[in-house]
């Protein structure tokens, strides 16, 4: 009897005492916005810490991407050039290419006859409008040039550190011995030390940056958590009073979450603006050092991508601040 009647009454209370969802949501938002202004120092601290975290995150992603693409670009430039006598035919070259391709370290093989090499050279001078060289070629004459120009084979490899097997083929295979140029020795142009350096930078930037970003995410969450917790502590009387007057947890927690989310949104916008300014200031200098920023430049050339970037930053910022605030207020709501 007691239970049934009590539950009936509570049911009626819950039905009649809730209020319209959107109306309550608007009120929570209003109190959150008022709180953001009222606790401006807390809001500023949370915004600054989140902004720094997001900028670091952006820098990590950019550095990782730039260094990886630079290392890849350099890897693409690496090749082994083997030169052959000018009378080496296309068929000879194809046969030797088949032989060298059997080596597991070989990624790709390109080859060209003397004539094709000459055409490439000529086209190159023409494209770059190098008149003096074109004049020289004209004076020497095409036939003469083709005779002087060795046929070439360019080999790209997977592992630049160990070329012994390829060298072995070049030095011991009959066809190679027969056709190798006597004037020009093969070049093993690997730049492997430079590539290794850049590769390890890319690795450091990706791994270290990710670790650093995670560390910063944790630190900023803790800083924001503690700042909000202090603010909540100073307002615990208010929370207590609100609970006694009959405010539900959502109504009490809501404004704090809105406040925190506003910090996250502002941090997202500010960090995007600052990161882009920083990037566009630095990227021409990086390009001067042959650091590949093309991918990012292409990405940022699209306005919609900048909006996406800003949205991602806002979302990340909001998640950081919301988690912090949620953790901070949980204890107080549980307590009362």
């Amino acid at each position: 009897m007691n239970k049934k009647s009590t539950l009936n009454r509570l049911k009626i209370m819950a039905k009649t005492g809730g209020g319209h969802f959107f109306r309550q949501f608007a009120r929570i938002f209003k109190y959150g916005a008022i709180g953001f202004g009222r606790n401006i120092w807390l809001s500023l601290t949370a915004t600054i810490v989140t902004t720094l975290t997001l900028i670091l995150l952006f820098a990590t992603i950019v550095a990782g991407s730039v260094l990886t693409s630079t290392a890849n670009a350099m890897r693409e430039k690496i090749d082994i050039s083997i030169f052959f006598e000018s009378d080496t035919t296309k068929e000879d070259l194809a046969k030797m290419a088949e032989t060298i391709k059997k080596d597991s370290n070989v990624k790709s093989v390109e080859y060209s006859t003397s004539e094709e090499e000459y055409e490439k050279l000529y086209q190159g001078y023409k494209d770059s409008d190098n008149q003096s060289m074109l004049t020289t070629l004209g004076i020497v004459g095409k036939e003469m040039m083709i005779q002087r120009q060795p046929a070439a084979m360019r080999i790209k490899v997977y592992n630049t550190d160990d070329l012994s097997s390829i060298k072995n083929i070049v030095n011991s295979d009959e066809d190679f011995i027969k056709h190798l140029s006597k004037k020009e020795d093969p070049t093993y142009n690997t730049n492997s030390s430079a590539i290794q350096t850049i590769s390890s930078w890319a690795d450091i930037a990706t791994k270290g940056g990710t670790a650093l970003s995670i560390l910063f995410l944790v630190i900023s969450t803790l800083v924001i958590f503690n700042t909000i917790r202090m603010a909540i502590y100073s307002r615990s009387e208010e929370i207590y009073m609100e609970k006694l007057v009959g405010a539900g947890n959502a109504f009490i927690r809501g404004p704090f979450l809105v406040e925190a989310m506003m910090s996250g949104v502002f941090a997202g916008i500010i960090s995007t603006v600052l990161s882009l300014i920083g990037y566009f200031t630095l990227s021409p200098r990086l390009e001067a050092y042959e650091i590949q920023v093309g991918n990012i430049n292409t990405f940022l050339a699209e306005p919609k991508n900048i909006i996406l970037l800003a949205l991602a930053a806002i979302l990340t910022g909001s998640v950081i601040t919301l988690i912090s605030a949620r953790l901070a207020i949980h204890k107080y709501l549980k307590h009362f």
């Binding site: 009590t6 005492g17 009387e237 207590y240 009073m241 609100e242 609970k243 006694l244 009959g246 405010a247």
Partner: protein, 264 residues
Amino acid sequence: MILFDHVTKSYSGDKKPALDNVSLHIEANEFVFLVGKSGAGKSTLIKMITKEEMPDEGKIIIGGIDLDYVKKRHIPHYRRRIGTVFQDFKLLPTRTVYENVAFALEIAGMSNREIERTVPKVLDLVELSDVAYKFPDNISGGQRQRTSIARAVARQPKILIADEPTGNLDVETGQGILDLLEKINDYGTTVLVTTHDANAVNHLKKRVVTLRDGKIVSDQKEHGIYRLDGDNDGFSLPQPGHLHPETYLMRDQRKQPPRRRLIQ
């Protein structure tokens, strides 16, 4: 309206229980003073009504609601049916008098139009219309307590609990507050006031329940002169044979006391 049936409550670390087998029945529309020195158990009793604390033993029924069955999720709805007034007012310092009162209605989900209609009437009832847009720091102690009362009665609760409402006020202002509580009681609201102020009790001449060391030592329905000191020997101890909770609940549901609307 309020029933405590053999309620006992102990706090860990305390040798004596804060409330020791307390039985108390307050009828609808009654005005009751709960008196006793500090540590007598008044605040614990109030905290049980607001469901901040739960008894170790015994049963509490408030306004027909058995608190044993009030789950955590029900508490906000339950508390909205009880008006609470505190000694230290517990007002929101950054909100005006008007906003403090409106807050109680906002959390209950009342529409803005209803709030705009109700708050001025409540402020008029507690005679605070002229300070409606002032902040709590800029008004007197008596006005702050009136604001606290206005907030408590804005939703027209059936029960009003006032914990030492005159504790921070001078005698004259305190009497003004008590008169206001009596006025609210006249409209049909059950009022329970805790105090250790003899002046307050003697001013209104209502039922006085005395707590000492967690026990009810006197339940004086016919008012005498209450003395703060002394042993209160003039008061009779509560009579045995309280109503059983089941009986109370049924009776409470049937019996609707004459009640006028506090705010029209």
